[in-house]
C-alpha cells in the first residue's frame, strides 16, 4: 500500500510532509533490547562459575535441555518485544498535505487512532523543545490547535519542529485564501 491510498488522497491534494518521530527517540528501546539480550549470558556465566557441571550437556540430561528451551523462548520473546516497540515507534505518522493534516497513532498492535484536521481551521501552532537531547538533536513536539479548543493534533518528537511550524502557518494561510475566495 502507498500513502496516497492510505489517506485517500484527493485529486487536487499534494503531500507536503510525511513525518515520523526522530530516530534518536528509538534509542532507549534499542538499549533496553541490548540489555535484555545480555541478561541470559550474565546468568549463564554466574551459574557456570558457581556450579560448573549443572549446565554441562553431557552430564545434565534434564536441566540442560530445559535451560536451552527457556533461553530460546526468552530470546525470541525479546525479539518480539523489540519488533513491537519498533512498530509503535514507526507507525506513528503525520501527513501534511496542501489541504489537511492526517494523524495516525499506533498504540500497541491492535489499536490505531486516525484523525484529520483541515489546514484552514488552524488557529495556533506551538513548538515545544524540552530537554537536553531534543535541543542537541533538534526535535520536539508541534502542537496544532483549531479555534475549537477540543481539536488538537500533536506531532510528537518530530525533527526540525520550527521549520514545520513555519510551513504549517504558510500552508494554512494559503488554504484559508483558497477557501475564502
Amino acid at each position: 500500500m502507498i500513502i496516497s491510498n492510505l489517506i485517500r488522497q484527493k485529486s487536487y491534494e499534494k503531500i507536503e510532509y510525511l513525518l515520523r518521530r526522530h530516530p534518536i527517540t528509538f534509542l532507549p528501546s534499542f538499549l533496553i533490547f541490548l540489555l535484555m539480550l545480555a541478561v541470559p549470558v550474565i546468568v549463564y556465566l554466574l551459574i557456570n562459575n558457581l556450579y560448573p557441571n549443572i549446565l554441562d550437556p553431557l552430564t545434565s540430561k534434564i536441566l540442560f535441555p530445559l535451560a536451552t528451551l527457556s533461553a530460546s523462548i526468552y530470546y525470541l520473546g525479546t525479539c518480539l518485544f523489540f519488533y513491537f516497540r519498533f512498530i509503535e515507534f514507526y507507525l506513528d505518522i503525520w501527513i501534511v498535505t496542501n489541504d489537511r493534516i492526517v494523524s495516525i497513532n499506533q498504540k500497541g498492535l491492535f489499536s490505531q487512532t486516525i484523525s484529520e484536521m483541515d489546514l484552514y481551521r488552524i488557529q495556533d501552532v506551538t513548538v515545544v523543545v524540552n530537554g537536553f537531547f531534543p535541543s542537541i538533536f533538534k526535535y520536539g513536539d508541534v502542537q496544532i490547535k483549531t479555534a475549537s479548543q477540543n481539536i488538537k493534533i500533536i506531532f510528537k518528537n518530530v525533527p526540525k519542529p520550527n521549520e514545520i511550524r513555519e510551513a504549517l502557518i504558510q500552508l494554512s494561510d494559503e488554504d484559508r485564501k483558497h477557501h475564502n475566495s
Binding site: 500500500m1 540430561k61 525470541l76
Partner: protein, 86 residues
C-alpha cells in the same frame, strides 16, 4: 512419584513458536498496510527475522542429541523423607 517426559516441554516450546510467528507476521502486516514498508522498516524486519532464525538454529544445534524420552520428576515423596524428624 509423578514424572513427565521431556518432550512435553518441547511441545510447549512449539506452542510458543506458533505464537511468536503469528505476532511477527501481524507486525509485518501492520508495516505493509500502513504504507510504512521503507528501507528502515525493511532493515529492522530483516534484523528481527535473521536473529530469530539464528536463535532457532542455535537451539536446534544445542538440542540435537537430547533424548526427549527422558523422564522429568515433578514430585517425589522421597524428597521429603526425614524432613520432619526432630
Amino acid at each position: 512419584m509423578f514424572e513427565i517426559s521431556l518432550y512435553i516441554f518441547l511441545f510447549i516450546y512449539f506452542g510458543f513458536l506458533a505464537i511468536f510467528f503469528i505476532f511477527s507476521i501481524l507486525n509485518f502486516y501492520h508495516i505493509v498496510v500502513t504504507a510504512s514498508f521503507t528501507l528502515a522498516s525493511f532493515i529492522v524486519s530483516f534484523f528481527v527475522f535473521s536473529l530469530a532464525t539464528l536463535i532457532l538454529y542455535a537451539t536446534w544445534y544445542l538440542l540435537i542429541n537430547v533424548d526427549w524420552q527422558t523422564a522429568v520428576p515433578l514430585f517425589n515423596y522421597e524428597w521429603f523423607n526425614g524432613i520432619l524428624i526432630f
